[in-house]
């Protein structure tokens, strides 16, 4: 476990150094200006430097010792991740093409399948209930502007 905890901080620090670098390089392109007449780029450049510094310190801390983190890392749940992410993607894609009702159903159905104990039947029941609730609450009660059901032909024109 020890080796893994050390590498966690090194990765985290490295990500921040990288973000800082991108901000720094792009920020310079916005025009730094002078201190009396600050341009759009000064604050990004300063933040880029700060992020790089903090990232380097975090990474260094990870190399030197493993003291900073005592949390245990739970195992990765790839099935759950895939279900949740595709649930949202399905909401966007199907919502764009067919409207709210099918989008809501597929979002809940797909994401519910990610749970270890879920079955197709339990996910379908939950999805039906939640879709009906969402239609009543958001479309009817709150009047959210989202076509409940539409044909894909209107895609692009709406």
């Amino acid at each position: 476990m020890r080796g893994r905890i050390i590498s966690r901080d090194v990765y985290g620090g490295a990500i921040f150094v990288l973000i800082g670098l991108v901000i720094l390089v792009q920020g310079r392109g916005f025009g730094i200006g002078t201190l009396a007449q600050v341009g759009s780029g000064l604050f990004p450049v300063v933040l880029g430097v700060v992020l790089m510094g903090l990232g380097a310190l975090i990474a260094l801390g990870g190399i030197v010792s493993s003291d900073s983190e005592s949390e245990s890392v739970p195992p990765m749940q790839w099935k759950g991740f895939a279900a949740i992410i595709s649930g949202v993607v399905a909401f966007i894609a199907i919502g764009n093409l067919f409207g709210l009702a099918p989008a809501a159903f597929s979002c809940v159905f797909i994401s519910a399948l990610g749970d270890r104990t879920a079955t197709v039947k339990s996910a379908a029941i939950l999805a039906t209930v939640m879709t009906l609730f969402a239609l009543c609450f958001f479309s009817y009660f709150l009047n959210v502007q989202f076509p409940v059901l539409q044909l894909p032909t209107s895609w692009g024109s709406s």
Binding site: G39, L47, L54
Partner: protein
Amino acid sequence: MISAALVDLWHGFEVALQPSNLMWCFIGVLFGNLVGVLPGMGALAAISLLLPLTFAMKPVAAILMLAGIYYGSQYGGAICSILLNLPCHPPHAVTCLDGYPMTQQGRGGAALGITMLSSFIGASFGITEMIFFAPILVEFAFKFGAADICSLMLLGLLSGSTLAKGSPLKGVAMTALGLVLALVGTDVNTGQHRFTYGIDHLYEGIEIVALALGVFGIAEFLKSVNNLAPINTKYTAVSLRDMKPTRSELRRAIPAAFRGTLIGSLCAMIPGTGPTIASFVAYAAEKKISKTPERFGTGAVEGVACPEAATHSSVQGDFIPTMSLGIPGDAVMALLLGALIIQGIQPGPQLVREHPDIFWGLIASFWVGNILLIFLNVPLIGLWVKLLTVPYRYLYPSALLFICIGVYSSHNDLFAVGETLVIGVAGFVLIRLGFHPAPMLLGFVLGSQFEENLRRALVLSQGDLTTFVERPISATFLAIASTLIGAKLFFHFRNRSTKATPLSGLAKIVQHV
């Protein structure tokens, strides 16, 4: 001064007791309580979920409802930690220490009753403090120039970021990342597009709703799916009658609650210490002055009353800088300010004068809301207990749907949903690497104002950086900020050499939450 405050407060009650405002406050505390009870959900998720709904509401109603969600979820979280030993919200970690043993001994209901009573005592004191302290702070804040505001924000950001659990260095890094995210969009001074990469949806910047629901919604689900420990519902049979504490329990709990209140309000005044630290300090102090310290950890009522009162008085104290200076103390406050900004109201010292309805209405609604909560919690305790057992496999898909529709409804735009997903996945990666997302929101909300004031200060001083240390107010803030960093470093290195201090042991518990 005092009589003026009382007149204003009277006006505040008139605002808070208007039927429509009262209704929103009620909806807020009800929903907050409900979500706070649900396993794996907390105040941040609850507020983020309802944030899109507030866009169409009047500012006063919106802020009353959001504040209601906040303290409602605190009550809900207390139920969760006492009956299930699951602290959903960090300050409640201490409440578990004695609350859960009380549950195991069949006194869980009494622990809940004591919690409600102590929270109310703590909150009431905090509110009173706010009534008299905030206007003084506002008068003082009108003297601030751009450089002073800038230093104050730096202090606020630093103390907010070191507050979060985990390593302070990572907290500061996340705050800086929040500042970077606030850069995205059109620069108000020059009209230049920054970090938009040609995507016109980003010209107006990243949506605060997308950011909040990404990191407190989607990222949390990714973290918890199939990883949530099974819930032990053995002790959750609590009825209304069980909630009445015995006379001897009350005799021990009430003085403890008052001591906790004092500790909490002191902690609220020191930058860098918030509700979580207040609750730990209160618990440690109560144990120290107790004649029977060995009872602590085995179900001592004082161990429940004191930290709960400290938490709530400190939470109310946090509203003081948020509402009077526009500097949020933590992510929850940042979300509240974000909601105000969306409504077109600029937070800051002018808020009290320009929008007395919001300021005094909010203060009055704290009391109204807390009383509503007691009325809600006493008869509904059976329902809350049932909610504790809702399985996560029903919860997260439903909440995910609400997130999608909520984010969509803020601009009737599916792009924002995609934005939320990207932020959520990125946030999850950072959570896995041990970074906590709350400070990021603080940086995000203050980001544009921080840059704006920095630029203005430099223009006024004609590019002279010494303005930040030459102006006495600014210099004071910077001095406090450096003291804060120094203290953090000192404790960091001291804890490393002597591992077995009692506070570091408590800090370990926080990290596990």
